[in-house]
Subunit: 268 residues, 2 copies
């Protein structure tokens, strides 16, 4: 079963996509083909979007689904009679919110991902922090870290730090634990002072082996033996040193990030 | 006017936050204090969340607002009688969707940001690509690029490339245009072959000056004169070379990324 789904927005359409996808993941028996229409922010563009939706709709056997986040009710009015199931997320919720707040929404377009200079700056700063302290770099900046991820090479530290910075403006550094550190069975000296900020990532050896094989095929580094050795050792190190840790194997970057914040008590 | 807003989810709560924030940006006259409760995925946790919400609610003069994305109707049933305005985004939309699809949702928790191994791998690969080709590095990988951002230093190239990778799994490289390149009035030779993939970023000189001052205070590099010179030159270069470009000053990273994809015809 196949359905076409449109995401229509007066801005980036990222919000419409995010919620729409969440909803659709609950209907696994269907295959959804997605078409995103961002920046539908004038009457003309809304009219054009409507025609496009109706054109594609006519070619389908089943009704198309349209998820939208259109702030301006005039734009919604143009699109709502489209030849498909039309669901505007704002429209669904706005009436209850207006009633509760005794207030009218501003109906200004493109505010969601618009720019707040202070937030923008702190976001860029967090990204720079993640880059400056990636892979054991910039230990001198650790005073400013909210969290320092430690783990073996390719256990997901860098993507998680970048996501924490982009999504939550969190200062996340990461430090690779090497084989040498494991032999000693102790945390690297340079990390000792920052113990309360440390969080460990581990990963199933089979998955680590797969990931490393892609990067360095047939190397000792990527071998299953080596991956098994490293993950066993690092988990032992986390436990002995009383470092909170997470096995990242079955989690998305979003989940890993949120769980770390949760466990470390970092406010979003 | 101050209101407390809760974001409750059985998973990361990122979807609830994203849509909830979009809605709240439309009520600028209010200040919203946000409390996020992720991983509310058992009856016990739902009960605990309910108590927490009601406790805080009692201390407030105005009703609290609760945005949730709870897949399991049993969890919603526990939280919906809370002492606040309760809006579950799934609940709002699910009935129409069920009716249209003639199907029941799976009601399996935590699917939204759960892991699809193929998507996970291509995401990690895109992030690695962005890092490997940041700031003029790894030109040998440009064959695999979906887009190559060019612009002056600190015009937003790196954060945009990282966002494109994390959010859309797009291979985005970036290359800094130096003063030398500007003097020559020509594109760097190494970019010539990849002309159809090039996209320019520019920025208001005053903003660039501010950003660079934070990084290198009182330097020639950060001076307003230098920023004016570089932005004028780069815009001339973009125009002469027929490179599509965007002024990033008033846009968020989400907007810049989406606009680039739109203009370059990159499918999400």
């Amino acid at each position: 079963m196949n359905r076409i789904v449109f995401f229509v927005s007066d801005s980036t359409a990222i919000t419409a996509e995010t919620l729409g996808r969440s909803l659709l993941t609950q209907f696994k028996q269907f295959t959804f083909e997605r078409i995103t229409m961002p920046f539908v922010n004038t009457l003309e563009k809304a009219q054009k979007a409507l025609e496009e939706i109706n054109k594609i709709s006519r070619e389908q056997q089943a009704k198309v689904i349209v998820f939208s986040t259109l702030v301006d009710p005039h734009l919604r009015k143009i699109l709502s009679p489209c030849n498909g199931l039309f669901i505007d997320f704002f429209d669904q919720v706005m009436p209850a919110l207006k009633k509760e707040l005794h207030a009218e929404p501003e109906q200004k377009i493109g505010q969601t991902h618009g720019i707040d200079p202070q937030i923008y700056s702190s976001r860029i700063e967090a990204i720079n922090f993640a880059l400056d302290t990636d892979d054991g770099l910039g230990i001198k900046h650790y005073d400013k870290a909210d969290v320092i991820l430690i783990g073996v090479s390719r256990s997901g530290k860098t993507p998680t730090c970048l996501y924490l910075a982009l999504q939550f403006r969190i200062h996340a550094a990461n430090y690779p634990i090497t084989e040498e550190d494991m032999h000693s069975g102790q945390l690297p000296k340079s990390l000792e002072t920052y113990r309360p900020k440390l969080f460990g990532l581990t990963i199933d050896p089979e998955r680590l082996h797969e990931i490393r094989e892609q990067r360095s095929p047939n190397s000792r580094y990527a071998s299953l033996d080596q991956c098994q050795y490293e993950t066993t050792q690092i988990e032992r190190l986390f436990q002995q040193s009383n470092i909170p840790y997470l096995n990242s194997t079955h989690f998305s970057i979003e989940e890993i990030s949120t769980r770390i914040m949760n466990q470390m008590g970092i406010k979003r």
